[in-house]
């Protein structure tokens, strides 16, 4: 018994929520569980934003100190993944993710997922991600990335 953690994605104008998603692949459409080959991103363009949240269920007292970063997988030339965590949902688009920064590539020194604590089953704020490319990004598959999510629980 402990908190059960999974990812949830929101899509569309009205934030249609899909819990228990199976991947957060980037692509050229606003949908969850994408097959990359079906929604390729043209070099020089951006993916649709990913609006995901961590969902905690089952029984726990408190979740805190949540950190999210890219731990493995090199970027190709001109490739970047942008990241921001914020309260408000916005319909995913291909425009550059507002106020986002490069996703950390090592463990952040402090929590970068809000809220700072979760003390009842529910969701984190929105973790917004976007794959960005330039005209110099080579054609073909990008490298597989490994992400790490770390949190404290009691």
């Amino acid at each position: 018994m402990s908190a059960i953690h999974e990812f949830s994605e929101s899509n569309g104008v009205g934030a249609v929520v899909t819990d228990s998603i199976t991947n957060i692949n980037f692509g050229s459409t606003d949908d969850h569980d994408l097959v990359p080959a079906d929604y390729t991103i043209i070099a020089g363009e951006n993916s649709f934003h990913k609006c995901i949240r961590c969902k905690f269920s089952s029984t726990f007292t408190e979740i805190s100190n949540m950190k999210f970063w890219k731990s493995l997988g090199d970027f190709l030339t001109g490739e970047a993944i942008k990241f921001i965590c914020e309260v408000a949902y916005s319909q995913p688009a291909t425009t550059p993710l507002t106020s986002a920064v490069d996703i950390p590539v090592s463990e952040p020194g402090s929590a970068n997922i809000t809220p700072s604590t979760i003390s009842a089953p529910g969701y984190t704020d929105y973790i917004k991600l976007q794959e960005q490319t330039t005209g110099s990004t080579p054609a073909g598959n990008v490298n597989t990335k490994t992400f790490t999510f770390k949190y404290d629980e009691f």
Binding site: F7, I24, V35, T59, T144, K145, T146, F147, D152, F154
Partner: protein
């Protein structure tokens, strides 16, 4: 998910509270119940159910020990009010492509470690004594 290290709280009146009421770890007492009685807490122990190793923090004396060996002991003059530190740190990994590690994207658990210790405030300065214990009994002393 079953835990390798489970806790037991011992209070000043001799009563005890175990994290689980059964070996299968189905019936759990939330840590919140310990926090609600923190001012009455005497000892807090972690047991590694795989290796049998016991970790203990004695809040009345300011001692952290493994088995019978004391590894941390503050020279506390006035016995300030010691506050328990306990939490688990969970690290999960997942891949960003169509080869997800789990069917449901929760990720693969890379590690679980357990933090145990105490803190107190003296002359407006917070002091901590803390150890981090991994499931295989590897340990870091802070």
């Amino acid at each position: 998910m079953k835990f390798n290290l489970i806790w037991k709280a011992i209070f000043n009146d001799g009563t005890e509270l175990n994290q689980f009421n059964d070996k299968e770890q189905n019936i759990e007492n939330l840590f919140r119940k310990v926090l609600e009685r923190q001012d009455q807490l005497k000892e807090f122990c972690l047991f590694n159910i795989i290796t049998g190793k016991k970790y203990r923090v004695d809040l009345s004396l300011g001692i952290i020990s493994i088995g019978n060996k004391e590894i941390e002991k503050d020279q506390l003059k006035d016995k300030p009010n010691l506050r328990l530190i306990y939490f688990r740190r969970i690290e999960k990994e997942f891949q960003l492509d169509n080869k997800e590690i789990d069917l449901r994207l929760g990720g693969r658990i890379k590690s679980i470690s357990y933090f145990l210790g105490y803190q107190y405030t003296e002359n407006n300065i917070n002091h901590k004594s803390l150890i981090q214990i991994y499931s295989d009994d590897q340990m870091v002393v802070y």
